[in-house]
Amino acid sequence: MKRTVISALLSHWLKNPLQTLALLGGLALATALWSGVQAINAEARQSYQRAANTVTEGDFAQVRGEVTVKDFVLLRRAGVLVSPIVEGGLNGVRIVGVDVLTSPRLSAIPETEIGAIYGPTLFGQAQALDQLGPMPEFRKTAVEGAPPNTVYGDISVVSDLLKRGDAIDRLIVLKDQPRGAVAPEVLGYTVTPPQAGTDLASLTDSFHLNLSAFGLLSFAVGIFIVHSAIGLAFEQRRPMIRTLRAVGVPLKMLMRLMVLELVILAAIAGAIGVLLGYFVAASLLPNVAATLRGLYGATIAGALTLSPIWWLGGVFVSIFGALLASLSVLLKLWQMPVLAIAQARNWQSKGIARKLQLSGLIVCILLAIGVLLFGEGLVAGFILLGALLIGASFLLPIYLSAALSIGQRLSRRVLAEWFWADTKQQASGLALALSALLLAMAANVGVATMVSSFRVTFVEFLDQRLAPELYIHVDSEDQADRTLSFVEPVVDAVLPLVYQDTFVSGVPTEIYGAKDHQTYPDNWKLLEGVDDPWGQVARGAVLVNEQFARRTDQWTEDKIEIEGRMFSIAGVYGDYGNPIGQIVMTQSVFGELYPTIRPLRFGLRLDPEKVPNVAEALRQFGLADDQIINQAAIKKLSKDIFEQTFVVTDALNVLTLAVAGFAILMSLLTLANMRLPQLAPIWALGLTRDKLAKLEVLRAVLFAAITSLAALPLGLVLAWVLLAVVNVEAFGWKLPMYLFPYDYLKLVIEALLAAVLASLIPAWRLKKTSPSQMLKVFANER
């Protein structure tokens, strides 16, 4: 009996290939986007894990400042285990020279290869070694566990390569020091703690959370399609189900077999979906890598290695989604008396649906208010987003009905009146697909606003913070003195850049010493501050960045203790992209706190037209190319990185919109057959099929337009939550929100275009419907 029943159930899908396509396509697309995003996340996390297991010189405390070989010898004689480091860059690759005899074990240099280091040999990931270009005089050894974009070699080899002579940059302080060894600080050295505040995993968690939210949203859009397909299939199979029940198939068995049928279909769709997801992930991963590199400096591999669990997980998600989407239909079937099954939905059930929508809407509103008032943390932010999106999809049918009623009331001509009334009647059948479009568009607006606000803020921030026309850095105090005496007469001002890493109020903080110069008040925009903040700074106050202010909850006019001295906060500045706290004070106060630290980097203010000549003069004076940085070049590099940044979210935006377009197409196609009884009377009364088809396209555009009107404000609220709630929780700073009407207009046009495309096939089919097909409506032959 089971075989007979299941073949009867499956015959529906064979007889209705369009519905089968909607169900399988919806599930496959949903699974594809979900599993694709998960694949990217998993791959990125694996990369972080590999990075976390990598030991680099940054994992140790370091003696910084003006360090020479003499200092190295002095400290070793004092019993302190330190190891010298030379560092530089070549072809965009960081090159680190270490002394293997005194250095702690580093992941980049395998134990077995230590002997070969004097070869001379360079160690690093294959990609970084390749990027260095041809170097026949060196042996290159690829090491999988090496940190990305970094190459290691013996200190003498690297010094030669970088033409650094005997200079060293800093000393690593080993973790296990012999008993009785003095601390370097006692000897007057400045020791910075191991890299802190740059926990890549926690920083990029936010990015992945965003991606996951996107994946989940796409999955939700797909589930809307599936729900719609299953609902329609159920409606059409009512007579068959009644017959099956009437001939004695037990309800429990029927339910079990319908679930089995769904599981089979969902497993097929899931398998297709994970395959598609693999291609989505593979095509997006290079951009994800670029985004993460641009944002956080985190490098992830650009290729996919996926586990069997991922594949199985995708299929499981598909099955789960299908069962979730069919839950209401199965429950309805469970509760229905045998004879009622064949009756079509009536007004009463529409009333119940409306009540359910209202109840859902109220729950979502209460949840959102609750989270806004009492919620904290990233999860609360995402609950708020979820409540907004789900609440909006509950509100959509009510809003559509109201908007179409207004249209109907305003219409004067009979055809227009019918058009609005008919559109209103069709709205319930398209509600799920339009909800999918609403969610996709709102997410698009939200993310586009967030990303573009980020971009505008970042570019403005670059303009503020990179005010000097040229930057130079020197290797020693002697070189600094000589360079300054050369350069000071030919530029308008020299702004020394000096900083020290330390802890203030318990958080890792960079202390900057800034010269009292008009450049700062002219260019730095503060988020808040006292009157004449830079004047206050000149009198001994400090400015703090937003990250510091938020983490320590210390704002303007609060007092903070730095190195045992109390300072008043004169203002708070935006410091986008910096993961740790920062404090700016005058150079003189900085000098009092850190007398041993002398500036080796300088910003030069000069007429922009003179930049090439001054740069050339500095080269003639003896500075290497990499010691002179043109501000315009930095800005261009930063902006280029930003252009790459978020490419992935753009791509996901397009994909999500495409899925929503698919939802509309499938709904229109499945509804097309049911539309005939509504359209045939109008045709019989004197409208051509061509005109009816055009009106069908217009109707789809109208639906998309009305949905767009709702999606825009929803998207902006979404953006506000992302910028003012989620971003603060994830990154520690609040981004100003900008509006981008042109982008929104473009999105609306895209959505209208998607609606036109989705309606073209059903409209074309209507246009080609033969009069005899139309006439069957009146002859009760359908």
Partner: protein, 218 residues
């Protein structure tokens, strides 16, 4: 002759078969006449009605309504014919489900610009529809829906009314009431009427009767 049908042929072709429904049908109707078209099921009555109403196109022959040849009209012109000249009443009522009774009643008349509110009101009153004007089709009984369909057709003031088994879906009592109303209104408005019916009782109430058998008028 107001309606003149000459050697009309219609067949339906599939890849394997060709089914001739009308095989050279010819007849004529004077203006203001009411005529019954009878015949066995499947003899082509509805097809003939659909061809005259511009709902389908013939394979051969001629149909002239008020002097105008309609057999070779294109889709747009046939739509205009349905809108302006012909009113069709179907067995299945063919009301617009998304519009209420009032809008359904006014629909075709407003579409062809001949809508007269007083005339429409009097039709609604005569057909007992005044209390149902704000209801939707699915809130009406079959008899009420057919009355709306009749009112809508007549409110558009067509020259020719084609009725395809207008009482076929109604019980005997309702069918009789609806038919009486239809015939009364047709007489009062002077419109030409062609009714497809199986019922001899209905045929007896009309001016003339045509019998179609095996695709030919007997």
């Amino acid at each position: 002759m107001f309606l003149e049908v000459t050697k009309l042929e219609k067949f339906y072709e599939t890849e394997a078969t060709k089914a001739s429904v009308l095989k050279g049908v010819s007849f004529g109707l004077e203006a203001g006449q009411s005529v019954a078209l009878t015949g066995e099921s499947g003899c082509g009555k509805s097809t003939l009605l659909h061809l005259i109403g511009g709902l389908e196109t013939p394979n051969a022959g001629s149909i002239r309504i008020d002097g105008q040849e309609i057999a070779d009209l294109n889709d747009k012109a046939r739509a205009e014919l349905r809108r302006e000249t012909v009113g069709v009443i179907f067995q299945q009522f063919n009301l617009v489900p998304s519009l209420n009774v009032r809008s359904n009643l006014e629909f075709q008349g407003r579409l062809n610009g001949r809508f007269n509110p007083d005339f429409a009101h009097s039709l609604a009153e005569r057909l007992g529809l005044l209390e149902h004007l704000e209801k939707f089709p699915d809130q009406l009984s079959g008899g009420q829906q057919q009355r709306v369909a009749i009112a809508r057709t007549l409110a558009a003031k067509p020259k020719l009314v084609l009725a395809d088994e207008p009482t076929g879906n109604l019980d005997e009592k309702t069918a009789s009431e609806v038919l009486d109303l239809l015939l009364g209104l047709v007489r009062d408005t002077g419109v030409t009427l062609l009714v497809v019916t199986h019922s001899i009782k209905i045929a007896d109430q009309l001016d003339r009767s045509l019998r179609l058998s095996a695709g030919r008028i007997l």
